[in-house]
Amino acid sequence: MKDFSRKEIDYVLDTAEKLEPVARGENRSRLLDGKIVALLFFEPSTRTRLSFEVATQRLGGQVLNLGSVEASSVMKGENLADTIRVISNYADLIVLRHPLDGSSRMASEFSSVPVINGGDGSIHHPTQTFLDLYTIRRESHLEDLKIAMAGDLKYGRTVHSLCHALSLYGAEMIFVSPPELSMPSEIVKDLQKNKIKVKETNSLEEIIGDVEVIYMTRVQRERFLDPEEYEKVKHRLKVTGSLLKNVDSNLKILHPLPRVNEISPAVDATPHACYFQQAFYGVPIRMALLALAMGVME
């Protein structure tokens, strides 16, 4: 994600906005007519894979699915480089999800067609960051945003890339997490170097009146040695109907999904809930990235 300048990010977001009526099924498009997109998913994924499939089909393209890893040549010991060389002769673009960090960069060295990183390893998931930014832009605003990020900020890759991308727009950030899952200090230092105001706390209640967007993430039980501590944190970092009683009507709540306990279902019906809309925005964003990568839109 760090490879993108603000101008380039804005360009992708503008393109997604143009394509949104197509994503909704209101307009038809043949932009990817005759094009084949290969989806190579070496890890389970629902939203990312399906939204890439929908994005391709809404633009009139066709999808080639790797299918299960167990049934593929990978099980025969083929390396990723060879798989990419072969598939890039079959398709016009490859979307790759792979458990190893940097696999998409490597794939692009061996591929004769563009490669989109659909999430590699535990660090990068750029299309998620694009759709998070798009959601914020559509539902709130990007410039000088006051945002809280809550939950597992230590291991959550979505928040790390989002912080960096938002810093290009001059945001004010509050990190809400228990100390064992706090934002890595090198990221905080980096943000401060870029003159971003950063505050850290462990209570959502304390800051909910001060922000325009809350980006929730899932806190996983296995991150805690002490199960009691997990139970305490789980309750302290939960968005409930009562927590939202006196907040500004424009407060928006985002979540990359899947959620478990961190947002109570009572919030879903409030105007604050944006997470399902956010999941939809994955379609126009991926349409934009596919169209731009294949050079069918300028």
Binding site: K2, N79, L100, G102, R105
Partner: protein
């Protein structure tokens, strides 16, 4: 006294002398240059030799002028090392090592989950930066992980 010193590091007729290596790093310098038992030239080295600026290591390679690009890799682990090209017992050329901006296949990425640590047919690749606060920093061009220390421990 002088005689004893000469025995430690004999002058060479032709070749390369790498001087002012950070004390204790001579073996890593050989590794970084890819010098192994298959190397045909005569190599001699001294570790922890007393120098004007404290202890240092010295490596001498006889009969071979090493490639500057390879020699500059030494800056990763010993930025103050100097390279002396010797011709006919005289110092023909003397240079400080220059930190390269990019290295390939020299250092292992410390992120165990990086694709460059898998069995894929690729070499590790890093961009190299020098920071006043943190010294030499290597950034993996695959996974973007930064190596701030333990560079010598992660030589390939």
């Amino acid at each position: 006294m002088k005689e004893k010193r000469d025995l430690k590091v004999q002058a060479i007729e032709n070749g390369t002398v790498i001087d002012h290596i950070k004390a204790g790093q001579a073996l890593n310098v050989l590794r970084i240059l890819g010098i192994s038992s298959a190397f045909r030239a005569t190599i001699s080295f001294v570790m922890n030799a007393p120098g004007a600026r404290g202890k240092k290591d010295v490596v001498k390679v006889e009969g071979k002028e090493l490639n500057v690009e390879e020699l500059n890799r030494i800056a990763l682990i010993s930025p103050r090392a100097t390279i002396n090209i010797i011709r006919d017992f005289e110092v023909f050329q003397k240079n400080n090592v220059l930190l390269p901006s990019y290295v390939e296949g020299v250092v292992r990425c410390i992120n165990l989950n990086c694709i460059s640590n898998s069995s894929e047919p690729i070499k590790s690749k890093f961009s190299v930066l020098q920071s006043e606060e943190e010294g030499v920093i290597l950034n993996c061009l695959y996974c973007e992980h930064a190596i701030l220390e333990y560079i010598a421990e992660n030589l390939l």
